[in-house]
């Protein structure tokens, strides 16, 4: 996407004129460039807090909030921030929003805050957020950056929930804290332990690799490039 000539407000915010551009920014983060399942970024929170679906949901939403807000701010300040100190500025912006998210979660639910522990402040070093700020928001308009942040955030939440579902159903026999099976169900304790996180994510990646390979086999000419990405 090329940047339009600066100076005009419309160009600055980059509202697409019905070319479906922003929908594409959204879908891209959700599926084709899913931050966890395709780009394999932000592994630490992905593995650490997905031992239950509730935790996965809370972490996903907090990251979504920080991602959208920092993308908006970075993109609206992109012509003001000097090139040399841009990374430091991005980190400060991100840290500010993470502090906000931290206090908001503490106010809404103390239990979730306790369960997530140090992993809420650790959103600061989630490579997805800094990555989007540097790779997308610093080069694109506010609207496009908003959609990009939204898509990536929802994609991240989606991937966390995939892991959270599997690990909670198998590891505790419940979903969102609601018990699913009869008492005879033997919990797979390993799924809520750290190694279960590795195995569950590996299993999902195997599935996605398989899908990609099959796509490559069925349409060999057209989509080879796409598969490589």
């Amino acid at each position: 996407m090329e940047s339009k000539p600066k100076g005009k407000l419309a160009a600055y915010f980059h509202f697409p004129q019905g070319d479906g551009l922003s929908t594409d920014e959204f879908i891209k983060g959700l599926w084709r460039e899913n931050p966890v399942l395709v780009q394999v970024l932000g592994m630490c929170p992905t593995l650490a807090v997905t031992n239950s679906a509730t935790n996965a949901m809370a972490m996903g939403l907090a990251t979504l909030f920080v991602l959208v807000m920092s993308n908006i701010l970075v993109s609206s300040l992109r012509n003001v921030i000097p090139k040399q100190v841009r990374i430091a500025t991005y980190i400060l912006i991100i840290a500010t929003f993470v502090t906000v998210a931290d206090y908001v979660i503490q106010a809404i639910s103390l239990d979730v805050h306790k369960a997530l522990g140090a992993f809420i402040p650790l959103i600061v070093v989630n490579c997805i957020i800094l990555g989007r700020a540097e790779a997308f928001a610093s080069k694109n308009g506010v609207w496009a950056s908003f959609m990009d942040g939204l898509g990536m955030g929802v994609g991240f939440t989606f991937a966390l929930l995939l892991l959270g579902f599997i690990r909670e159903i198998l590891g505790s026999g419940s979903l969102f804290g609601v018990s699913l099976f009869a008492d005879s169900f033997q919990d797979w304790v390993i799924m809520i332990l750290p190694s279960g996180g590795f195995f569950a994510l590996a299993a999902w990646l195997l599935l996605f690799n398989g899908l990609k390979l099959r796509k490559k086999e069925t349409q060999p000419e057209q989509s080879r490039e796409e598969v490589l990405i």
Binding site: P121, I190, L193, A202, L206
Partner: protein, 193 residues
Amino acid sequence: MKTESLWFIFLNASLINNFVLAYFLGICPFLGVSGKLSTAFRMGMAVIFVMLISSMAAYGIHAFLIWVDAPFLQLISYIVVIASTVQLVEMFIKRFSPSLFKALGIFLPLITTNCAILGLALFQTNKGYNFIESFVFALGAGIGFTLALVLMAGLREKLDFAEVPVIAKGVALTLLVGGILSLTFMGFAGLGG
């Protein structure tokens, strides 16, 4: 809290609750830099160094923020300190050992976004460690990180010669190996307790 001996803190941070395999901190370098044994080891050394310095700095900052009564600035000041520590270490190494500087390359600045460092600072604050305990905790965490990284790199160097299904190549295989490593580290539970 005060009953924990220094030795136990060290064992806890390095083996029982290994930062990489139990807390999932620093997974990015664990997956990204574990391809070759030598780079993994050098990366580990750099991380230990940065961890020690930023842990001591974080201790000072925490005390200062409590004194001025501004705990909400904790996160922002930690990340700034870590970023500047990495910058300082980079300049220091460049000045005194250009060869090491070249060997570390891009990994040095990337330490800033290594969640193990920030996680360490946050954990030591949450656990209320004093200065010496923080130092030992940082040392243990750094050695644990290096251990996990080097083990992984050794396994992956061997795996390069193994025949694996195409579907499992890349990250999926690394994650499976990581899971098994994490299982073995569970065996350390109860050690020193």
